[in-house]
Amino acid sequence: MAGPDAFGEGIWAKKKPGAQTGAAGMTKTVFPPSIPSRPTYGVLAPRPGPAHLMIADGDGAGAVLDLVGAGDAGMAAGSHLIYLPGPDGTDRTAELAALGLARFHRAPSFAAALPRLRKVLGDAHMGVQIYLAGSEGLIGQAQREVMEAGLPHDAVQTEHRGTTVRRVQCVHCKGITENVATDPFTCGHCGLALFVRDHYSRRIAAFQGVNIDAEDPGLVPPPVEKFR
């Protein structure tokens, strides 16, 4: 059988991504090195600009708190934060509301935040600094909107915090399954057993899921919880 090792991503490593707890109690994840397609993230740092737009979910709140803490006294007055609960339900709205940013909007989901985000980007001017923090799904989808607005993909700062669940597109039916925790997993749309690749699409803002038993139907390895 042509196993998924052919992708060279070491997928049979049963190790979960190493998790460490920071001084302030936030969970940061060190992702193992992978193929160039796999997104990497940095640490948010204040940059000079006339305005600051922050989009975060769940534990991304910690990165926003650190960012504003590192910024100068005027940063809050020029900041607009859109925040949503994380895929695991983490909701740190109260801490963020206490930051005193010029604008703070809590949305129940990314879909609910999208009209506001598009309006904000449509009205923004060059020079605005954009910061994305939290789950990979949130970062990827917000980055896609920023790219649609005409900015280069690397013109935003990103910081991953909290859950490592993935947003995965089935390459066969094209359906996207949110919050994938195991590998392989069952496509929420067509029902195929999918191997979760590190191959990522910025345009779709999703990792790619490939049928794992195409050549030997029924020969599906037991799902392993690789993301959580």
Partner: protein, 321 residues
């Protein structure tokens, strides 16, 4: 030699004096066939046999990219230069056969942009003429800010203003007109890309202003061809060819390598593209790095040199060429 890639044999079809400093030269194929397609911002390297001295200078293609019947370049006469522009001003006449390189684009439009903001100084207008023609055909959104010394030297300013109206803004130094760059940069919609071509000081001014105004680096594009600076005479050993050559005061290292019959890669010949990057095998002295290509760390390492614009001072230099 084939270091710069494929060449095109051309004939000079037209020579036009645009103003006191600039002349336009149009090249066509002798057989009337089409020229290779190009995109706005591309340049060609024009080869000259200047009374025994081989010159190769890059010039932006200024024509409409949709027009493949010929290439047009605009040459600003530089009386203090090394002689390429003077040759093109004094010796090139219609009907003359010349050789140019295939087009190369190091200053392309990013067509993902929502708007293109162009800043030109003097002869730096030439790549924008082609880019604007390309964008106008695509219905792209652009705005040009073009600064020159005075109206007489504002090549193509009137034509651009007549054709594109409010999208073209002209500034004349002699009238004390200056681009209000901070206000201009502050008012651009998200997704704007910035392009600058002109004198070194202008490029530095625009890039640093954009950086401090929070513009992302990847949205700021510039083109600056460096002329190889003169310097002291020095010797170089070309290890792969087994030759030792002497580089003259007004000759570039690349030109000296070519004059010795050694085939060396190049494209822009102005320190920008990276094509001529060469490994240094031995260096007892100081490399004078003049390019925009190598990183500061690479320059400090002394293991790479860009022969098109960089020089050497010291006892001995050995290159892997």
């Amino acid at each position: 030699m084939s270091g710069g890639g494929a060449r095109i044999a051309v004939r000079v079809a037209e020579v036009t004096e645009v103003n006191a400093l600039i002349r336009r030269i149009r090249f066509v194929r002798p057989d009337g066939g089409p020229m290779p397609a190009f995109s706005g911002g591309a340049h060609t390297v024009v080869e000259m046999d200047d009374h025994g001295t081989r010159r190769r200078n890059p010039y932006s293609l200024m024509g409409d990219p949709a027009d493949t019947t010929g290439y047009s370049i605009a040459v600003r006469r530089d009386d203090a230069g090394r002689g390429g522009s003077l040759f093109l001003h004094r010796h090139v006449v219609p009907g003359m056969d010349m050789v140019i390189s295939h087009p190369v684009n190091l200053f392309a439009l990013d067509l993902r942009a929502k708007k293109h903001l162009m800043i030109a100084g003097g002869i730096g207008i030439t790549p924008f003429l082609a880019q604007i023609a390309q964008l106008a055909a695509l219905g792209g959104r652009f705005e040009l800010h073009y600064a020159t010394r005075n109206p007489a030297l504002c090549a193509y300013g009137d034509e651009l203003a007549a054709r594109y109206g409010g999208r073209v803004h002209l500034y004349h130094d002699d009238a004390g007109q200056m681009i209000d760059l901070p206000a201009l940069l502050a008012g651009q919609p998200l997704g704007t890309h910035l392009y600058v071509c002109g004198p070194k000081g202008m490029i530095r001014w625009v890039r640093s202003s954009a950086e401090s105004a929070g513009w992302p680096r990847a949205a700021v594009h510039h083109e600056e061809f460096l002329a190889p600076p003169p310097g002291k005479v020095f010797d170089v050993t070309l290890a792969a060819s087994g030759k030792t050559i002497t580089v003259g005061t007004h000759q570039s290292l690349l030109e000296a390598i070519e004059a010795a019959g050694v085939d060396a890669p190049y494209l822009c010949r102005g320190g920008a593209c990276g094509q001529c990057e060469t490994d240094v095998l031995g260096c007892d002295g100081t490399i004078r790095h003049n390019d925009h290509w190598l990183t500061e760390a690479q320059k400090a390492s002394g293991q790479k040199i860009m022969p098109c614009v960089s020089r050497f001072e010291g006892r001995s230099l050995v290159l892997d060429r």
